[in-house]
Symmetry: C5
Subunit: 151 residues, 5 copies
């Protein structure tokens, strides 16, 4: 297994370090890390990891700011990440943490770390067909899960 990690210098937390640490616990194989300036550079970075470095799956890590323009950038990046997946038929697990999702710097770091690690576990589960067990369970990476609903 070859797993790609695309991350940014714009982010305020070393999400790739957390991703690599967590992946090592779950997935055997090699990890390719590729750092770019910002989230809008992640789509092509991820596609290069999939096509040029031969990765089977990529985690795209980023921390958009809280201004309106940052949300627009995130939207553009997400759209590009989806397009990259459709062009390659491989998964790119997007892990974005918005600066306004946490009330303090400390909480922001904790959230970035936790969400990255839980998505690293998703990578493992996805590669091993283990996610159907948790389908419809209200999973929320980085936050407490939400309870399922029934009638």
């Amino acid at each position: 297994m070859k797993i790609g990690i695309a991350d940014t210098t714009f982010a305020r937390y070393d999400m790739a370090k957390a991703a690599i640490d967590e992946l090592r616990r779950w997935v055997p194989g090699t990890i390719h890390r590729y750092t770019v300036p910002g989230i809008k550079d992640l789509p092509v970075a991820s596609k290069k990891l999939l096509e040029e470095s031969g990765c089977d799956i990529v985690m795209a890590l980023g921390m958009p700011g809280s201004a309106a323009i940052d949300k627009q950038c995130a939207h553009e990046a997400s759209t590009g990440l989806i397009r990259a997946q459709l062009m390659t038929n491989k998964h790119i697990i997007e892990v974005f943490v918005f600066e306004d999702e946490a009330p303090s710097d400390k909480e922001l770091a904790r959230l970035a770390d936790a969400r990255t690690r839980e998505h690293a576990q998703n990578v493992y589960k996805l590669l091993n067909n283990r996610l159907s067990e948790e389908a419809g369970k209200g999973k929320r990476e980085g936050f407490a899960d939400v309870k399922p609903v029934d009638f």
Copy 2:
């Protein structure tokens, strides 16, 4: 007939279970289920079901949250699902239920179940060229239909 079901762990109701149950009543053939973390993972999951698992049609099931960012995610997912269809010339029936479409958890579950089942019937009708009979009839999956207009 091979029918694909792509669903998520983010959803709060097991829509795939409802889809499979309903499809079994209408469509002969095999069903492939593929679960991913969130709705933005559905486009490539659906495309893989169509191209790698040989499905003839896919149902993409998801339950976006009610925050602004969730609506943006749904928009990105929908755009990707349309792109995936254009790349494959096959249908992906999107079944999204927004958390703010229902006034209570119970109603949300009921809505998710009903919309999924009605779209499963749409899959059957689409595969059998039966939808023209209902064209322009104001069909609303999961809710009561709206009455047609005339002059």
Copy 3:
């Protein structure tokens, strides 16, 4: 000439019936009708009409609701229809009537009928290179035209 008509069960008026009736007056040849659940299913339906049924041009007919989410759906559908045209180098004439464009059900039906018929005429004119005569004339399908401006 083969003309495709893609329409929906979501619409509240049988726009396809109006389109077919009007096309019969202007364009010789066969008409293929293909009905899908909603407007987001129109892009692939139109592309299938162009590529699999061999249509020369398609009319994509839909009636989006008036809520914010409906406008987003319409945006996604329109983007997909444009993409489908670019992939095929053929025209898909989008005929969308928004529920909030008319003050009453009766007016909505009248608008849907008129806009569809005028766009059916556009199909004829487009196929016969007749639109340049009306270029810059402020044409408004379904409503009264707007007067041209000059200085």
Copy 4:
């Protein structure tokens, strides 16, 4: 040189006439004009001009209305025009004049005429590699230029 002009019947001013008049002063060669109903038909019209009529460059002319839905249409058209360029590696110079850019019908016509003519000159300059001379100069087609900034 073959230059394509794509325009609409929706526009309220004959921008193509102004474009052709201006192009004749600057660029030798033939001009192909292709009129479609509205701006959302411009992307495929432009691509057909580039690929089927063999044009080297296209001007896409349109006048979106002032309502929110018109801005959305313009956004969809612009996105499609950019996609068409990326698919062909040729330029499509978009000349859009929004109805609310001018305080009166007369001013709107004057603006549509001026912007079209200045962009026709851009076509000439682009084909002849003359735009770098004006880089960073705050050019504003149809309006007075904005002054450059320095520190």
Copy 5:
């Protein structure tokens, strides 16, 4: 190494001059400059630089205005730049400076100059695999960096 610079006549500062000056300090090789009217022309210009001029990487430089329509244009341009990268598997470093990011003309010029130069350095670091050293460090081109967070 061949580096492409795509810039605009719409911009109010000669960002390309700053980019070329800075690149000369860091990267050996040739620089191709290509000027277009506005930011929506940058995607195809960048793609032509990558595919027709054989550039290894491109800097796309622009200065969107501050009106709502300018933000929409920037969004369309950014989306196109990401698409161009995915079609070529090469990086296009977008350097956009919005007119409302600075309180005065002087500051705007200073910001445009600084952001361009810092992104020129990013080009060097990207080509030499030096960005991972700065991953998660809260880099902000043109402004002071933001401090990283931890827990």
